[in-house]
């Protein structure tokens, strides 16, 4: 019996090369994409079934595919007390965020607009409280609650007690725009 088969050596060398894999960078400031309220979704694009957005917003992928941004979103979701009304996605005083129903649109720009502008019947505006970057982070986290970000991105561990499986195991929910079916609510 050979003590060091060639395959083992190759495997060991290959695993040593894993160390060179690049770690995702944390962008702690200076978002590389310009932010301004003008480019945000307008009311017509926010209302589901309204005007469709043109080219996909590059910020969507930027935030939804970055694990650090999504975990910052999770932290801000707790710190800014989204939990008070939306619980950890299951809703309560406010609508659930982990189901398939979206009143004001399910895309990140639409969610950012909802956070920024507030919505009738209770959702306050966070325009003066959160930076736009933070709103995008929260929007990405909210999308992860219903499985709409890549599986390897959201944090596998919740910050609090959780009744369901971790959000990394969440299956993508279909999107149902309740505004289109029943008119504005």
């Amino acid at each position: 019996m050979r003590s060091f088969p060639a395959a083992t050596i190759v495997l060991l060398l290959a695993s040593a090369a894993l160390g060179s894999c690049q770690r995702e960078a944390r962008e702690t400031r200076d978002a590389p994409l310009p932010f301004s309220q003008q480019t945000l979704a307008t009311t017509t694009t926010v209302m589901a079934g309204g005007g469709a957005a043109g080219a996909p917003d590059p910020r969507v992928a930027h935030y939804e595919k970055n694990a650090w941004h999504v975990s910052e979103g999770q932290r801000l979701y707790e710190q800014f007390n989204c939990v008070e009304c939306h619980a950890h996605g299951g809703g309560g005083i406010g609508v659930p965020l982990m189901d398939d129903e979206w009143i004001y649109g399910s895309s990140s720009p639409q969610i950012v607009a909802t956070i920024m502008q507030g919505r009738p019947n209770g959702m306050p505006s966070y325009r003066n409280l959160l930076t736009e970057e933070q709103m995008w982070q929260i929007a990405a986290y909210v999308r992860s609650l219903s499985g709409h970000v890549p599986k390897d991105v959201p944090p596998s561990r919740a910050d609090d007690l959780a009744s369901g499986p971790p959000i990394t195991l969440q299956k993508p929910e279909p999107v149902r725009n309740s505004n289109r079916e029943s008119g504005s609510r």
Partner: protein
């Protein structure tokens, strides 16, 4: 500003320091003794066997000394432990709560009367000679509060309550530090501990429960408006204003504190502007976002924050 366990200025630190001194002398003595024996053995290596009687005498007394020494240290530790538990007993302690966050300290002075409770950050002010009981909590990960001049370390553990007793015996300005690795900016998570006379402390407390002064000049007024609308108020609180965020440090008397950003930089206009302009260059990874501001807006914000004495 001192940060040294070797210069105790509090009852608890003094007890620990005395015990440490005793351990140092006793173990140092035995260490020297071992070296003497070793030297002797080397010196007489070729001079034949030792007489039985001398050997027995030496080993017996050696064992006796070690036993006595260990007993002595055990008893001394026991008494040091008792004195730590009872230092400051009998007087009503000042009750405080310190909550650790990544990477700053929230400091609350508790009072039965809620309207007299004071919240501040990154600075602990203590009256001389009054025992202090600090309830410790953590908001995120495990931290540890270490004020070397006053007492030993105590961990702050999420979901658990711990506490720390202090009894300051000397007026002064001391530095304390997080002593449990807690993430990127662990090394920059310090706080100032200021021990002052009971009168000065009472004056400070009385002023701290007052609302923040209203902005006086047009520039300060503009700064006030910016603080309220440009996301500052989302996280920070200022007494008597619409800013009541609970995420970041309380700014009610930010200009009165000795340092900014948890002991990271001196509290001056230039450092304040540098911090507000780009918190992530001063302390990368901290939770304060960069809020884009024009230079004149930045000056206005600093001008207002400087009034919060």
């Amino acid at each position: 500003m001192i940060q040294s366990a070797a210069h105790p200025t509090g009852a608890h630190a003094a007890i620990t320091s005395n015990l440490f001194g005793l351990f140092l002398w006793v173990t140092g003595f035995f260490f020297l003794l071992v070296l003497v024996f070793l030297g002797w053995a080397i010196w007489r290596k070729d001079r034949g066997a030792v007489r039985d009687r001398a050997l027995r005498l030496t080993v017996t007394s050696w064992i006796g000394m070690i036993t006595l020494g260990l007993f002595g240290l055990t008893i001394a530790s026991y008494f040091a432990d008792r004195s730590l538990a009872f230092a400051g007993a009998g007087k009503t302690p000042l009750r405080m709560r310190v909550t650790a966050h990544q990477w700053w300290w929230e400091v609350e002075y508790l009072d039965r009367d809620q309207s007299k409770a004071v919240t501040t950050a990154n600075e602990i002010r203590l009256p001389l000679g009054r025992p202090v009981q600090i309830l410790l909590a953590s908001d995120d990960v495990i931290h540890s509060l270490w004020i070397p001049n006053l007492a030993g370390k105590q961990d702050l553990i999420p979901g658990r309550s711990t506490d720390l007793q202090l009894l300051p015996r000397q007026v002064g300005h001391f530095r304390a530090q997080c002593a449990e690795f807690c993430g990127l900016q662990h090394a920059h998570m310090a706080l100032d501990v200021i021990v002052e006379s009971p009168d000065q402390f009472a004056t400070w407390w009385a002023k701290s429960i007052q609302p923040a002064p209203a902005p006086a000049t047009p520039e300060q007024k503009r700064g006030f408006d910016l603080v309220m609308t440009r996301q500052c108020a989302g996280c920070h609180a200022i007494n008597g204003t619409p800013a009541y965020g609970t995420v970041g440090p309380d700014l009610s008397r930010v200009a009165h504190r000795a340092t900014l950003a948890a002991g990271e930089m001196p509290n001056s206009r230039a450092w304040l502007e540098r911090w507000v302009r780009d918190p992530q260059s001063a302390k990368p990874g901290n939770q304060m976002p960069k809020i884009p501001m024009k230079p004149d807006e930045l000056h206005a914000v600093s001008a207002y924050l400087e009034t919060l004495q």
